[in-house]
């Protein structure tokens, strides 16, 4: 047996990593004087114990699906897009401009245009770092970090100087009612099911659609094949006639567009106005989600729901105990650390275990002839 079976790679190792992250988090909770098992119970109950909890969990998950897919697509081309945060912020500008442009008569008309607006603005914000990486060789990690800060300064400027609604707070006016997306509560009420009040809206379905489309793109189209080939080996890709410039640009544009789409859920679906900080770190959660989900849309979806539950559970935890909300940030950091940076710490022993197991258990008479 040369390597690990596939299930170990896609399920076992992420699971061990997650358990490690949770164990360390549990130790942290113990150190600040709370019972980790009780904390866990509160978080699980808060996240999935009621329709209200599910509503918030899936609402957060929708944000993380978009930012997670954004990071994942770039990962396939071996690009680390840290700029999801900034791209989502500029995407929110695109969505807000669409929503405020005309008094939309119905959300069915507003939604597709807002999707285009968010995707275009997000992609545009990713385009400059992508171009600089592809043509000038500037490291995309550094440029996208810089673009996060530039995006937030730009948004503050626009909200203070040009887009500000009358009043004190730097925010736009409320979007017209024709842009309000159907809420989960209303949808379920229409079929006679009672669903708790939450910001979960139709954008969740858009998130599922995005997962499917990304899967289709990456594994069923020529472009997806080229992106993955480029990510595996740039020189082999070039030899096969794939243009690095084209792949870097397209992968980053798709990545930025996906990050920009987050605003459809957060800005159009919940806040219904453009606020100064509307992304709230979701762009960075996308990194954890993509790492955890092994850059596969199904993995990203599951990891996004897990992180959605973590966010909602963490909010309940703060409400019921003395553990502040920042516990989520710690757990998130540990997940990134264990699944991303310390991956080899788990992978190597597991690999060795499989190798040994494979050697010790050969079929009689089929010992490899070496």
């Amino acid at each position: 047996m040369e390597k690990m079976p596939k299930w170990a790679d896609v399920a076992l190792i992420p699971l061990i990593n997650l358990v490690l992250a949770l164990v360390v988090s549990g130790i942290v909770v113990t150190l600040i004087g709370e019972d980790p098992f009780e904390a866990m119970a509160i978080m699980v109950r808060g996240a999935v114990g009621s329709t209200y909890g599910w509503g918030y969990t899936l609402f957060y998950a929708t944000n993380f699906i978009f930012t997670g897919l954004a990071v994942a697509v770039a990962f396939h081309a071996k690009l680390f897009n840290i700029g999801g945060e900034g791209q989502a912020q500029i995407g929110s500008l695109g969505v807000a401009l669409v929503c405020l442009a005309i008094p939309w008569p119905h959300w069915i008309l507003a939604l597709p245009v807002a999707v285009i607006g968010g995707a275009l603005f997000g992609a545009a914000w990713a385009a400059i770092p992508a171009y600089l990486q592809a043509r000038r060789g500037s490291h995309i990690v550094i440029t996208t970090i810089m673009f996060n800060f530039i995006a937030s300064a730009l948004l503050v400027y626009l909200l203070v100087e040009t887009l500000k609604a009358p009043g004190m707070a730097p925010e736009t006016e409320r979007f017209p009612p024709g842009t309000f997306l159907p809420n989960a509560r209303d949808i379920f009420a229409a079929v006679g099911i009672e669903f708790g009040r939450s910001p979960l809206n139709i954008a969740f379905l858009l998130g599922l659609l995005a997962c499917w489309l990304v899967w289709l793109l990456m594994w069923r189209t020529k472009l997806g094949y080229e992106i993955r080939a480029f990510g595996h080996s740039e020189s082999a890709a070039v030899y096969a006639g794939i243009s690095p410039f084209r792949i870097v640009m397209l992968a980053m544009l798709i990545s930025g567009a996906l990050a920009g789409l987050m605003a459809v859920n957060a800005v159009m679906g919940e806040q219904q106005r453009l606020l100064q900080d509307n992304v709230l770190g979701a762009g960075f959660v996308g990194i954890a989600v993509a790492l955890m989900g092994r850059s596969h849309p199904v993995g990203v979806l599951l990891a996004a729901i897990l992180f959605g539950a973590l966010y909602q559970g963490g909010a309940e935890l703060e409400f019921e105990t003395s553990v502040p909300r920042e516990m989520i940030v710690v757990i998130q950091a540990l997940v990134i650390l264990f699944t991303g940076a310390l991956d080899n710490m788990v992978r190597d022993p597991v690999k060795r275990m499989f190798l040994r197991y494979g050697k010790r258990d050969p079929q009689p008479g089929t010992t490899p002839a070496e």
Binding site: V28, L31, I32, G33, F80, I82, I128, L132, R136, G137, S138, H139, V141, I142, T143, I145, M146, F147, F149, I150, A153, L154, V156, Y157, V160, E161, F284, I287, L291, S322, V323, P324, E326, M327, I328, V329, V330, I331, Q332, A333, L334, I336, L337, G340, A341, L342, D343, N344, M345
Partner: protein, 332 residues
């Protein structure tokens, strides 16, 4: 704008450049040895918290400083464990460190002090005092007396009593760290090896020098320097820790490092420039420049914009150490 205002802006430039400079030099050591460090922000933050927290509890800023340095070094070791020992992705490790610091500091602050994620504000011995250089106080008094009278002093003496004198010790430590870093990196055997390991680790390994040990050494130095930077933020510049008080300074330091093309003296100028931008931005909301009105947000974004321009290679190309970001795998 009179002369005294300029001096005051330059004075606060030096203050604001200090944490940038220390963090920038930390990044310099780390990246010169081939370990990319985007966790500067996080390490500054833990140090800022632990120095303020321990200073508040013990009443001594020096014990606080030690605690801050220890915490930053520990975070450095996490980065080393991930990126050197387990050959993981250095960028991802840096991201994790930033989040870990951001969450942990508030969590512990809430547990220890219950003041909404901040430490009590520091005073007296729990803060770094400003050092008055010989004669500075007398000169300042003379200047004020002259201005209170009918005289119209030029304020030339303010260069001495305001700009040069009257900072905390960490400011002078940071300024001294520049020539020291230059000497260590470019005039010692250790420095030569450290730079070599960032360019071609295999060659260093062939020469019988341990790549792992050199990289850990550079990471420890980075921990020490970010520890100083963080301690200065919460016990020198401010009087206590507040949530996320580094406010992107770790990334500005990273930007300064690229701006300086990974060289100590250039790092000083880059950090002073970015400090000046911050000082001007703090003092004036909007600036009019030849008919254009520059908004304050533009000033805040300027370090990042300048870095992108530099990275793009339009104004003098910045070439990073060649082995940066790649874990070294010994040949078998």
């Amino acid at each position: 704008m009179d002369f005294l205002t300029i001096i005051q802006i330059l004075d606060s430039t030096i203050r604001l450049a200090t944490p940038l400079l220390l963090a920038c030099l930390a990044g310099l050591f780390s990246e010169r040895s081939g370990i990319i460090d985007i966790g500067l922000e996080g390490k500054m933050l833990v140090s800022a918290f632990f120095s303020a927290a321990v200073a508040a509890m013990t009443g001594s800023v020096w014990i606080g400083l030690c605690a801050g340095i220890v915490s930053a070094v520990l975070f450095s070791l996490i980065h080393g464990l991930a990126s050197i020992t387990f050959k993981g992705d250095q960028l991802i490790s840096g991201v994790a460190i930033n989040f870990l610091a951001s969450g942990m500091t508030v969590l512990i602050a809430q547990d220890w002090f219950s003041q909404g994620g901040r430490t009590p504000s520091l005073s007296g011995d729990a803060r770094f005092d400003s050092l008055d250089w010989p004669g500075a106080v007398a000169m300042r008094d003379a200047f004020r007396a002259e201005r209170a009278g009918d005289g119209d002093p030029t304020g030339l003496s303010a260069i001495y009593w305001d700009m040069i004198s009257g900072h905390t010790i960490l400011v002078y430590v940071a300024l001294l760290a520049v020539p020291v870093s230059w000497y260590v990196l470019f005039r010692t055997r250790f420095g030569l090896r450290l730079r070599a390991v960032g360019e071609n680790p295999a060659a260093v390994d062939t020469a019988g020098v341990s790549v792992v040990r050199l990289r850990y050494a550079s990471i420890l130095i980075a921990g020490l320097l970010t520890g100083l930077a963080g301690a200065y933020l919460s016990t020198g510049l401010a009087a206590g820790f507040v949530k996320d008080m580094t406010a992107g300074r770790g990334f500005i330091a990273l930007a300064a490092l690229i701006f300086a093309k990974w060289r100590p003296w250039y790092a000083l100028w880059a950090c002073l420039l970015f400090g000046l931008l911050e000082a001007v931005g703090n003092r004036y909301q909007n600036i009019e420049l030849v008919g254009f009105e520059l908004p304050v947000q533009f000033m805040q974004a300027l370090p990042y914009i300048l870095t992108v321009v530099i990275l793009a290679g339009f104004v003098g190309r910045a070439i990073p150490p060649r082995a940066g970001g790649k874990p070294y795998v010994k040949e078998r």
